[in-house]
């Protein structure tokens, strides 16, 4: 065992060395190490550089997109108000009914559910049943936009049937028009997405709509908010839509629509009718009505009875759909600005105005009518032909609406001046009203200066062979009424922001002075006379001097089956003539009644509208003595009669009645029989002693009131009033003294005589 330790260790060392990894192993190990560290890790680093440095913006944007929830806050659509801030269009909260069929219990009878719910919501029963059976669905829209009462009924029904978790109501908004069809042709309507589709809703859509806001929040993968550390919330508030304040007064609009609708019904007009009321001093539209129109709450339903009849005839035919669409578009169209007509004799006021302005004629000029007028090679008949008007002064020619007279005037004015004034009154341009769809007549709807040869000049002078829109016409009429200024009409008086602050206020825009103030007032006087005595007399309103002109124009381009032409009957004018406030236009297109003259069917509509509008606007009536007499009524003797007899007698006399006490016969009447009191005055009938004693009133102080004001005060105090005064025709007189001292206790119905004097004589 004696081995050399040195050798042994060498041997062991060599054995150990032999056991060591070989050089090849080392080399290969180094290759592998380099492969892993340089190649593999290097590739990773290159990829990370790409992702984290080169493309980082893109990835970050994508990641942010999913990490932020972006919710739209829809803005409130603005309200549309009338001139007195009455709401004409506003948004209303409604609900959409969502069903989760997946959540309906097995034992629920789906047939019964479909039966009950379909009748409750008014939806198709079979469709609802199919929806209820889609058990793999969690979201079925049953009905959208239901209103509060129905939503409450639905909730009650759900509770009653214990269908919790099956139905959901999601909030939505819809446009609502509280006055229904009132002003519909001006307002227009909105579509399903609350976007304006027609009328002001469409024109001012961008303003009304406002701007949607957003809430951006950080969310996790489940859509929940991130914890505080990472929370992020950014809100861009929705900007609520602006509101519109119209110049239109819903009360006047109501007057206009009420009477226009009646006229359409009475005349059987087949192409609708228009009424416009305008403030002559500002150009503001106070009312603008088209009948038939539609209900903006349900704009797609045809409402015009004529159209419905026509559609019923087409039912089942191929044309039905097209006809239905045409009828819809027709009822949505605002006839006052979008359609045009031949004005006829109404235009004669402008022929008069230009001739007076140019000094070509005066009120004293005379014109001779022989029933026809020869112009170039044509004979143009007067409307009374074969009779004739003979020789007339200007006023008579207007009252007669004599065609030869106006051909003579027009010819005297001549082509150049006629065209100058024709253009001046705005008949060749748009009025630039703030509404959509204004018809542009410049595309060959009138004679250019060069085309105004003698015949065209003659026919144009009497309002024929050219077309205007109703709005152009009333705007020109206003120019005569306001002293010669052509104004730009408008319907939106103010735009309010979401907080109700005034953003814009529409100013009065004078386009130009067309005629002098003097000429304007001379024309006004002539037109007032025409209404007092001439063709416009049906527009006469007691107390208000109405100036105006009627017109009836034949539609030569289309003939009815009987061979006679359809006509457009119209009246346009203003009141009061000596201090014009409002202009009015009534146009009835294609009346089918026997008498189709403007004076017969359009003027009365204007009268009825003015009769209500002028007092509403606070325009003081100024009665002539003649009118005053007309207004007074004599009280009939009714003492001793039964109450029924007495009431009948008093109503027959044009008075109103009030019965006091519980007796059967009249024991006393106040005022007593044979007294003169204003029409619609009140007679108080006492039927027993107790009532006689109890029913007294205190006489007020009438001093300083106008005629109409005093009448109102008297009515309030249950008194009757007897007007007296030297001359009340001129207007402006105020109550100066009264027959019973203020503060006296008198029985109701007692007559108080009030004396009126002109203001300057009081002070």
């Amino acid at each position: 065992m004696a081995t050399d330790p040195k050798r042994q260790s060498k041997k062991t060392a060599s054995a150990a060395a032999k056991n060591r990894p070989t050089r090849q192993m080392w080399t290969r190990a180094i290759f592998v190490l380099l492969g892993i560290v340089l190649l593999a890790f290097g590739a990773l680093l290159v990829q990370l550089v790409m992702l984290q440095i080169v493309q980082t913006d893109d990835w970050q944007r994508r990641a942010t997109e999913q990490q932020l929830s972006d919710n739209v806050i829809s803005p409130h659509r603005g309200t549309i108000y009338d001139a007195n801030m009455e709401v004409l269009a506003e948004r209303m909260q409604v609900w959409t009914v969502i069903m989760d069929p997946n959540n309906i219990d097995e034992e629920v009878n789906r047939e019964k559910l479909a039966d009950e719910l379909s009748s409750l919501l008014g939806v198709d029963r079979d469709k609802l049943y199919r929806q209820a059976c889609k058990t793999d669905s969690m979201y079925e829209v049953v009905k959208s936009k239901i209103e509060r009462p129905l939503a409450e009924e639905l909730i009650a029904w759900v509770e009653q049937n214990e269908l919790y978790g099956v139905f959901r109501l999601t909030t939505d908004y819809k446009r609502t028009y509280p006055y229904g069809s009132l002003l519909s042709s001006v307002l227009g309507f909105t579509g399903a997405e609350n976007t304006g589709l027609y009328g002001l809703e469409a024109e001012y859509n961008e303003l009304l709509e406002g701007e949607a806001g957003r809430i951006v929040t950080a969310q996790n993968g489940w859509g929940n908010d991130m914890p505080n550390l990472l929370s992020y919330e950014k809100t861009v508030d929705a900007e609520d839509g602006h509101s519109l304040v119209l110049s239109i007064d819903q009360t006047i609009q109501h007057f206009a629509e009420k009477h226009l609708e009646e006229a359409v019904a009475n005349t059987g007009a087949t192409n609708r009718a228009v009424a416009i009321v305008q403030d002559v001093n500002t150009g503001a539209i106070l009312a603008m009505a088209t009948k038939g129109d539609f209900d903006p709450n349900d704009p797609f339903t045809i409402t015009d009875p004529n159209e419905l009849t026509a559609l019923a005839e087409l039912a089942g035919t191929e044309e039905e759909d097209a006809a239905f669409e045409a009828a819809q578009i027709k009822q949505w169209t605002n006839k006052a600005v979008t359609e045009f007509y031949e004005p006829g004799s109404v235009f004669k006021m402008f022929t008069t105005a230009m001739a007076l302005e140019e000094g070509i004629i005066t009120e004293n000029s005379t014109f001779t009518c022989v029933g026809t007028q020869k112009v170039a090679d044509y004979n143009i008949d007067c409307h009374v032909s074969p009779m004739s008007h003979g020789t007339q002064v200007l006023g008579e020619a207007i009252s007669n609406s004599c065609n030869p007279a106006f051909i003579q005037i027009g010819t005297a004015v001549g082509r150049d001046l006629f065209y100058e004034y024709y253009t001046g009154f705005g008949f060749t341009e748009k009025t630039d009203i703030d509404m959509l769809g204004e018809f542009d007549v410049s595309e060959g709807f009138y004679h250019s200066r060069d085309e105004l040869n003698p015949v065209e000049l003659a026919t144009s002078s009497m309002g024929q062979t050219f077309k205007v829109t109703p709005l152009q016409m009333i705007t020109a009429v206003s120019a005569i009424a306001n002293g010669g200024q052509l104004l730009q009409p408008y319907v939106v008086q103010q735009v309010l922001d979401g907080d109700g602050n005034v953003v814009t206020n529409t100013p009065v825009t004078v386009k130009r002075q067309v005629i002098s103030e003097d000429t304007a007032s001379r024309v006004a006087r002539l037109l007032a006379d025409a209404v007092n005595s001439g063709g416009g007399r049906n527009a006469y309103v007691a107390g208000y001097r109405v100036a105006g002109k009627t017109g009836t124009s034949e539609k030569t381009e289309d003939r009815t089956e009987t061979g006679s032409n359809n006509v457009v009957a119209s009246f346009s004018g203003f009141a009061p003539a000596d201090d014009p406030q409002v202009a009015i236009l009534v146009m009835i297109d294609e009346p089918q009644c026997a008498n189709r003259y403007g004076g017969t069917i359009a003027a009365p509509v204007a009268k009825k509208i003015l009769e209500e509008t002028l007092p509403y606007l606070g325009v003081e009536p100024q009665y002539t003595a003649e009118e005053m007499a007309d207004l007074s009524r004599n009280t009939p003797p009714v003492e001793g009669k039964t109450i029924a007899e007495a009431e009948a007698a008093i109503h027959a006399a044009g008075l109103t009645v009030r019965v006091e006490g519980s007796g059967n016969t009249v024991i006393k009447q106040v005022p007593e029989a044979g007294q003169s009191i204003p029409a619609e005055g009140r007679v108080v009938l006492y039927t027993d002693q107790s009532s006689l004693q109890s029913q007294t009133t205190t006489v007020p102080d009438f001093t300083g009131y106008s005629v109409s004001g005093a009448s109102e005060v008297a009515a309030y105090y249950d008194l009757n009033i007897q007007l007296s005064g030297t001359n009340l025709e001129g207007g402006g007189a105020l109550a100066a003294s009264q027959s019973i001292a203020p503060g006296t206790e008198v029985p109701c119905g007692t007559i108080v005589r009030v004396e009126f004097l002109y203001e300057d004589t009081i002070e």
Partner: protein, 387 residues
């Protein structure tokens, strides 16, 4: 002398002798390893707490478990670092046999979703037999190389037996199916064969064949078609079927939105239920999002240092067995890191491979640390020029 001494030793002395070493282990390796482990645990906590809160009702659910296993793992590491790694010669074949049994067992046991990768295990919850197989292959190959190194350049000695082992393991893992596990074992086996001395041309031909087979499987059989689709055509697949490409896309969102400097530690947004299971295989995406490219670079460099250090240890090993063990175990770390990050950044199709020391998983962390202990054990017996 040594054997006579052994005869006179008590049992306790014999046991102590197992851990007797002349010199200390390689400190740089352990330091880098512990740095990586620490960073890994911190990142795992950051990546996991949202998921833990929402799915486990406890933000600390994953980190608490991971910390316990990390402690156990470090214990195993220290224990094994003192263990005489030569004893693994005897364990090589039994270990391999056990892992094959486990791989078969996992295929036989019922699975919920058609994927059988996990075996249930009390306390730990479960482990992947492929983890054991990986280790078994490393040990077995080290054993085979050190015994047969003279015949390594022959087909019969240096190629066939190794391929037979790989065929068994890879075949079984493919059946699970566990593509990434298969790839890892395959790559690991080849690295060891190459370094062990197998002729590169056989390896090269085999790789060509394997690529051909894989291409055939993908194109004709449609194996893992969905994953391949996502890999090749991410955006369109995401458009068409977001679920299919979800994890990869969310991973790229996270990495990309990290930018150069990152969102800051703890500030990942993608871990808030966007990226599924951010504590597992895709943890590196969250690391990239929070710490940016700089953070990712530092971590990759640390892994590179660890791998470099592991190879240095191997090259100083006193024998071929130690050399091959250290090479195999180190290469495993390097390959796994490379594949994991490549998957996370969509350089490779999405497979299930975890990031060493970062991804959540108790059994795998313990195994990894124990294997690092073996590398340290090799380092204790290093041969230096001075000695």
């Amino acid at each position: 002398m040594a054997s006579s001494a052994a005869k006179t030793m008590s049992k306790w002395q014999k046991f102590k002798a197992l851990f007797y070493t002349k010199q200390g282990f390689d400190k740089p390796f352990l330091i880098v390893l512990l740095i990586l482990l620490t960073i890994g645990l911190a990142c795992m906590f950051s990546a996991s707490y949202v998921n833990a809160y929402y799915y486990q009702d406890d933000s600390y659910f994953f980190i608490n478990r991971q910390l316990i296993f990390a402690l156990i793992g470090v214990g195993a590491l220290l224990l094994l670092s003192a263990f005489d790694y030569h004893k693994f010669h005897a364990l090589a074949i039994p270990l391999f046999a056990v892992s094959v049994v486990l791989l078969i067992l996992v295929l036989i046991l019922p699975s919920d979703d058609g994927v059988s990768r996990w075996l249930p295990l009390p306390l730990i919850g479960g482990f992947q037999p492929s983890e054991v197989a990986k280790f078994a292959v490393v040990v077995l190959f080290a054993h085979m190389v050190s015994l047969n190194y003279q015949k390594m350049d022959t087909f019969k000695g240096g190629y066939l037996p190794f391929m037979a082992v790989l065929a068994v393991v890879c075949g079984l893992t493919l059946l699970e199916p566990h593509l990434s596990g298969t790839m890892l074992v395959f790559a690991l086996g080849f690295v060891m064969m190459y370094i062990g001395g197998t002729k590169p041309r056989w390896l090269f031909l085999t790789i060509l064949l394997a690529v051909a087979v894989v291409v055939f499987m993908i194109l004709v059989v449609g194996y893992e078609k969905d994953r391949i689709e996502v890999w090749l055509d991410l955006f369109n697949t995401y458009e068409r079927n977001p679920d299919q490409a979800w994890q990869t896309m969310q991973s790229l969102y996270a990495i990309g939105s990290g930018g150069l400097m990152g969102q800051g530690f703890g500030n990942s947004r993608q871990k808030h239920l966007f990226l599924p299971e951010p504590q597992n295989d895709f943890i590196f995406a969250i690391v990239c999002e929070e710490m940016g490219f700089i953070g990712a670079l530092i971590i990759i460099v640390l892994f590179a240092v660890l791998v470099w250090r592991g190879f240095v240890i191997a090259m100083h090993a006193p024998d071929k067995f130690g050399f091959m063990l250290a090479i195999g175990l180190t290469a495993q770390i390097g390959i796994q890191v490379a594949i994991n990050i490549a998957v996370v950044s969509n350089l490779l199709p999405n497979t299930g491979i975890s990031l060493p020391f970062f991804s959540y998983g108790g059994s795998s962390l313990v195994m990894l640390l124990a294997q690092m202990g073996i590398i340290l054990a090799v380092s204790r017996r290093r041969v230096t020029k001075t000695s």
